[in-house]
C-alpha cells in the first residue's frame, strides 16, 4: 500500500512543453503521455497501444523522439518536450505536416502526429534522407491505412521543400526557415 500511495502522491515537475515553461504536479509513476493528454490537454500524442509498440504517442524529448507512453513524466524535469501541436505556428502547419497533408499521407490520422514527430527529428538531423532512411526512422510506427508509400513520399517532399526554402531563406536571411528547420 505504501508503494501505491507514493505512486499516487503528486510531485512537482518543471518542464518546457512546446516552448512554454510549465510548473506542474504529476504522479510518481505517471507517464509523459498521461501528463500531456490529461493534465495539459495536448491530445495530439495518441494512446494506440500503451506499450511502446505502435509509435502513435511519439513526442520529442530534448529533440529526440521518444514513446511518451513509456516515458515517466518525472524524468522529464527541466527538459524540453515537443508535440505535434507545438510544430504549428498559429494555424500554419510545419513543413513536415504540410507535406503529409499535401501528399495524401493522412487518412484516419491517428498515427500521423507520431509519424510527424519522428520525421521532424529525422529531417532536423539529416536534412536530405533517402527513402530507406525515412523507412528506418519510421520503423515501429504502425499505420493501418496508407501502406506507408505516401508517408515516405511526403517525407521526401518535405525534405526537398525544406532544402529549397533553406536555400531561398539563406539568400534572404530568412530566420523563419532556420527556426523551422533546426531545433530551437
Amino acid at each position: 500500500m505504501t508503494a501505491e500511495l507514493d505512486e499516487d502522491a503528486l510531485v512537482p515537475l518543471r518542464v518546457t512543453v512546446n516552448g512554454r515553461a510549465q510548473a506542474l504536479a504529476c504522479g510518481g509513476g505517471e507517464t509523459l503521455l498521461t501528463l500531456l493528454r490529461e493534465r495539459l490537454g495536448l491530445t495530439g500524442a495518441k494512446r494506440g497501444c500503451n506499450q511502446g509498440l505502435c509509435g502513435a504517442c511519439t513526442v520529442l524529448l530534448d529533440g529526440q523522439p521518444v514513446r511518451a507512453c513509456l516515458t515517466v513524466a518525472a524524468t522529464c524535469a527541466d527538459r524540453r518536450v515537443e508535440t505535434a501541436e507545438g510544430l504549428l505556428r498559429g494555424a500554419r502547419l510545419s513543413p513536415v505536416q504540410q507535406a503529409l497533408v499535401d501528399g495524401g499521407a493522412v487518412q484516419c490520422g491517428f498515427c500521423t502526429p507520431g509519424m510527424t514527430m519522428a520525421l521532424t527529428a529525422l529531417l532536423r538531423a539529416e536534412p536530405r534522407p533517402d527513402a530507406a532512411r525515412v523507412r528506418e526512422a519510421l520503423s515501429g510506427h504502425l499505420c493501418r491505412c496508407t501502406g506507408y508509400v505516401k508517408i515516405v513520399e511526403a517525407a521526401l517532399a518535405a525534405a526537398e521543400a525544406q532544402a529549397q526554402k533553406g536555400a531561398d531563406g539563406a539568400a534572404a536571411g530568412d530566420a523563419d526557415a532556420r527556426a523551422e528547420g533546426a531545433a530551437p
Binding site: 497501444c49 497533408v101 493522412v106 490520422g109 491517428f110 496508407t146 505516401k150 515516405v152
Partner: protein, 781 residues
C-alpha cells in the same frame, strides 16, 4: 454534366483531405481525446474462461474500491437478446460466458485506475463447461453446444441450424454434377485462412454524456451513427429520441467498428451513474473483446477444358464465426457469392456454413468473406493454369466477365472493366518486372497474379444540400469518415455538380439529431451510394437555382447554364447572375435557402432466382460490382523460407476516380493489409485463450515490412452509368487478391503451393522441404 466543355472544377482533382490539417496538427479529436466535466471512467470485467455458466457474482470488493460509483452486470440491464440475424447476444454476458474476453461486468469510477482495479475485483462464480475452439472441435459429432439455447432465439429466415452450425446457404447454377465429365482437367484442394485482427490504430472508445432531460449524447469510434443509435436503443430499451450519436474523428475501422463495441455499456453506466462516462479499451482488451476476420476452411474444385475455358466449380465454405452470430450470415453469404470470382463458369455449386465456436466474434472486415473465397479461387486458377501449361493472365482473360454478363446468383453486371484491368496490369508488369534488380544469392524470384472483384453498394443513404445567403453551399450526409476520405470526396461530388471548387462546399459533421440517414461506412458503398444521393440532392437544388436565375434574367430555364465559380449565365452570352444574387432572392421569396434532398437505396439489377437456385441467402440485393487484378514480384529465401515482396501493381475498375490521390491511398493501404494477412497476421488461441493479444505478438506490417513500391492503376474505362460522375467504390477491393497473388508468386518461385495463410517462414520452409506443415492456429490441451 457541365453545361460547357470547361475543365472539371472538383471531380478528378486530388484535393487534399479537408481534415488533413487538423489531423497532422494534432488538433483532431478522436473519442478518447474528449472529456466532459464531472466525467467518470468506465472499465469492463471480462470472462477468463472460454465457456461456462455464471452461477453468481460477488461485487462487494469492486464496490469497496474508493472512487467507484457504479458496478453493473447483466442483472441490471434489460432482459433481452439482440442481433441482426439471430438474437443471441446480450450487452453483458447473461447466464453463460462463451469466450475469453466477453464482457461480464462494467464499472464506473472517478479515476481510470480505480475503474480498472474494481473491474479486476469483480468476482464471478463460474462453472466451466467444455469449449469448442476450432472448426474441427465445433463440427465434431458429439461437440458441446456453444449456445444450448439456440432453438429459442429469434432469428431471420429459416436457415436450418444444426449443432454449432447456425447458418447454411447454397447457390447452384447449371448442372455441376454432369459437368465434370466435360472437363479435361480438374483440380481440387482445401484452403485455410486465419483470424485477422483489424488493428485500426485507434482502440475502441466512447464518451457518453447524459443530460437532465434523460438524453444521452454518444461520441464514439463507430462506422455509423444511425446503426449505433438503433442498436443502443434495442439493447438498453431506450427510445431513439433519447439517444444522440455524434461522430468524432475515427481512427480507422476496416469493418471492426461496424457493429457496436463499448457504447451500450458506456450508456448503461452513464444512466446509472447520472454522470458522463468514458470507456477506452486497452489494445489487448480491444483485441480480446471485439472482432476478427472469419477464419475459414474452403474445399474447392474446378474443372476446365484444355484451352483453359472454365466448365465447373464446386466449393464448400466453413466460416468460424466465434461465439455470437453478429454479421456472419452476411459475411458467409457474400463469401459464397464471390466463390466463382469475376469469371464465366456455367456450372456452379457453392455451399457455406457459419459455425459457432468459443472464440471472439468474427465480423465484418474489409472484403467481407471475399478475401477467403478469393484466396481459394485464385490459387486454384493458378494451379489450373500450371496444369494446363497456360499463362495465368491469359487463362483469366479467357474467362473474364464482360459487360452484360451475370454474377453468380444471376445479377446482371453492366459496367465491368475486368479485361481492361488484366490488360493494364500485364502492360505495366511487362515493362517493369524485368527492370527490377535481380534477387540476392540463394533467393528465388516468383511472379504472381490474381483477379479480384467486389461490390460497391448495399442499403440506404441520403443527402441534403442548401444554398446559403452568400451563395456558398452547405452539404449534409450521415456518412462517418473513418479515414477513407468521404469528408473530402462527397463535397467534391457536390461541388462538381455546381461547377464550384471543393472549398465552396461546407460539409456538416455527422449527428443523428440533424444529419440525413445513412446506413454504415461499409461495403465500399459511400462514394457510389452516398455519392449518388449527394449528386441527386445537388441536381435538385441546381434545378431550383436555375429557376430563380431564369426569373432574374427574364429568360427560360433551358437558356441557362452554370458558369464555373458560382454563377448562372445565359448560354453563349455574358449575362449572368451569381449564386449570391440567386440566394438573396430565394431568402426573400421563399423565406429561406434553396434546398435539395435525396434518399436512395440500390435500384439496379437484382439476383435472379430463376437462373440460380439460392437458398437461405442473407441478402436480397447488393449493388454494383467492381473488378481488378493484382500482380506482384516476391523473392523467397530457400534457406529460411522468408518471403520479401519487391513490388506490387494493383489495377482497379473504379469507374471514375473522384479523388485519385485518395483512391490510390485506399489501394496502397489495402495491399499492405492484404500482405499482412498473407504473410504475418494470425490470431492464435491456446486452450481457448488468445495467445497473442498485443502488437508485440500480433505483428502488422510496419514501413520496413511493407514493399517500397506499390503501384495503383486506376482504370476509368468503364464508367458506372448510375454512379456519381461514373464513380464506384474502391475501399475494399485492394485487399481481395493480395494473398492468392502472393501464394501464386511463391509457387512460381519455388514450385510449391501453400494452401494456407499466413505464409510464415516456417510454413514456406516446410513446404519447400516437403514436410506436412502444421503449426495449428488453435491448440487445445
Amino acid at each position: 454534366m457541365s453545361a460547357d466543355g470547361d475543365a472539371p472544377t472538383s471531380v478528378g482533382l486530388s484535393s487534399p483531405r479537408i481534415d488533413g490539417a487538423e489531423k497532422a496538427g494534432g488538433k483532431a479529436k478522436y473519442a478518447d481525446d474528449l472529456s466532459a466535466p464531472d466525467m467518470l471512467y468506465g472499465a469492463i470485467a471480462t470472462s477468463p474462461i472460454p465457456a461456462g455458466r455464471i452461477l453468481g457474482y460477488d461485487l462487494s470488493e469492486a464496490r469497496a474500491v474508493p472512487g467507484v460509483v457504479a458496478v453493473l452486470t447483466a442483472e441490471d440491464l434489460p432482459q433481452r437478446r439482440v442481433g441482426s440475424f439471430v438474437k443471441d447476444e446480450t450487452t453483458l454476458a447473461r447466464g453463460r460466458v462463451r469466450y475469453v474476453g466477453e464482457p461480464v461486468a462494467a464499472v464506473a469510477a472517478e479515476t481510470r485506475e480505480a475503474a480498472e482495479l474494481a473491474a479486476q475485483l469483480v468476482l464471478v462464480d463460474y462453472e466451466e463447461t467444455p469449449a469448442v475452439c476450432s472448426l474441427d472441435e465445433a463440427l465434431a459429432a458429439d461437440a458441446p453446444r456453444v449456445h444450448p439455447e439456440q432453438a429459442d432465439y429469434a432469428r431471420q429466415g429459416d436457415a436450418a441450424a444444426e449443432g454449432n452450425v447456425f447458418w447454411s446457404a447454397e447457390i447452384v447454377e447449371g448442372d455441376p454434377d454432369a459437368a465434370w465429365a466435360e472437363c479435361d482437367v480438374v483440380v481440387e484442394e482445401v484452403y485455410e485462412t486465419p483470424a485477422q485482427y483489424h488493428a485500426y490504430m485507434e482502440p475502441c472508445s466512447a464518451l457518453v454524456e447524459p443530460d437532465l432531460g434523460g438524453r444521452f449524447t454518444v461520441r464514439s469510434a463507430a462506422q455509423s451513427i444511425f446503426y449505433l443509435q438503433g442498436r443502443i436503443s434495442e439493447e438498453l430499451d431506450l427510445p431513439m429520441a433519447r439517444i444522440r450519436c455524434v461522430a468524432p474523428r475515427i481512427g480507422g475501422g476496416f469493418g471492426g467498428k461496424n457493429g457496436v463495441n463499448v457504447q451500450p455499456i458506456a450508456v448503461a453506466l452513464a444512466r446509472v451513474a447520472e454522470r458522463p462516462v468514458k470507456i477506452t479499451l486497452s489494445r489487448s482488451q480491444d483485441i480480446e473483446m471485439l472482432r476478427s476476420r472469419h477464419p475459414a476452411r474452403i474445399r474447392m474444385k474446378t474443372g476446365a477444358k484444355a484451352d483453359g475455358t472454365l466448365v465447373a466449380r464446386e466449393a464448400e465454405l466453413w466460416f468460424d464465426a466465434g461465439a455470437y452470430v453478429d454479421e456472419s450470415p452476411a459475411v458467409m453469404s457474400f463469401g459464397l457469392l464471390c466463390s466463382r470470382g469475376p469469371y464465366r463458369c456455367p456450372n456452379v455449386r457453392v455451399r457455406g456454413h457459419a459455425v459457432y465456436t468459443n472464440k471472439l466474434k468474427a465480423g465484418s472486415f474489409r472484403g467481407f468473406g471475399n478475401p477467403q473465397a478469393t484466396f481459394a479461387s485464385e490459387s486454384q486458377l493458378d494451379a489450373l493454369a500450371r496444369r494446363l501449361g497456360l499463362d495465368g493472365l491469359a487463362l483469366r482473360r479467357r474467362n473474364a466477365m464482360a459487360p452484360g454478363d451475370h454474377w453468380l446468383g444471376g445479377q446482371r453486371v453492366d459496367a465491368c472493366a475486368m479485361r481492361e484491368c488484366l490488360d493494364a496490369l500485364e502492360a505495366r508488369m511487362a515493362a517493369e518486372v524485368p527492370a527490377l534488380p535481380p534477387p540476392e544469392e540463394g533467393w528465388a524470384r516468383g511472379v504472381g497474379v490474381s483477379g479480384l472483384s467486389h461490390i460497391s453498394g448495399l442499403m440506404g443513404t441520403s443527402a441534403a444540400v442548401n444554398l446559403r445567403s452568400d451563395g456558398t453551399v452547405a452539404l449534409s450526409t450521415g456518412v462517418v469518415d473513418i479515414g477513407q476520405g468521404s469528408d473530402t470526396v462527397l463535397p467534391q461530388i457536390c461541388a462538381e455538380a455546381l461547377r464550384l471548387p471543393p472549398e465552396a462546399v461546407a460539409y456538416a459533421a455527422q449527428d443523428t439529431d440533424s444529419s440525413p440517414y445513412n446506413w454504415k461506412t461499409a461495403a465500399s458503398r459511400i462514394t457510389y451510394t452516398a455519392g449518388r444521393a449527394v449528386m441527386q440532392a445537388t441536381v435538385e437544388m441546381r434545378q431550383r437555382i436555375l429557376e430563380h436565375a431564369a426569373e432574374l434574367l427574364e429568360c427560360g430555364v433551358g437558356d441557362l447554364e452554370l458558369a464555373p465559380g458560382g454563377a448562372v449565365r445565359i448560354a453563349g452570352s455574358d449575362r449572368s447572375v451569381s449564386f449570391r444574387e440567386v440566394a438573396a432572392r430565394a431568402f426573400n421569396r421563399i423565406g429561406g435557402p434553396i434546398m435539395g434532398q435525396h434518399a436512395f437505396a440500390f435500384d439496379g439489377p437484382r439476383f435472379d432466382p430463376k437462373r440460380a437456385a439460392m437458398s437461405n441467402f442473407a441478402f436480397d440485393n447488393l449493388g454494383v460490382y467492381v473488378f481488378g487484378a493484382v500482380g506482384l514480384v516476391a523473392d523467397v529465401d530457400r534457406e529460411t523460407g522468408k518471403i520479401v515482396v519487391q513490388k506490387v501493381w494493383s489495377a482497379h475498375d473504379i469507374g471514375r476516380a473522384v479523388n485519385p490521390q485518395s483512391a490510390e491511398g485506399q489501394v496502397q493501404g489495402a495491399v499492405v493489409q492484404g500482405l499482412g494477412y498473407a504473410l504475418l497476421e494470425e490470431l492464435i488461441w491456446e486452450d481457448g485463450r488468445l495467445a497473442n493479444p498485443s502488437f508485440m505478438d500480433y505483428k502488422i506490417p510496419d514501413g520496413l515490412d511493407a514493399p517500397a513500391a506499390i503501384t495503383p492503376i486506376l482504370v476509368e474505362d468503364a464508367p458506372e452509368e448510375t454512379g456519381p460522375f461514373g464513380a464506384k467504390g474502391v475501399g475494399e477491393a485492394g485487399i481481395v487478391g493480395v494473398a492468392p497473388a502472393l501464394a501464386n508468386a511463391v509457387a512460381d518461385a519455388v514450385g510449391v503451393r501453400l494452401t494456407r495463410i499466413p505464409m510464415t517462414s516456417e510454413r514456406v520452409l516446410d513446404a519447400i522441404e516437403g514436410r506436412a506443415s502444421e503449426a495449428p492456429a488453435s491448440r487445445t490441451a
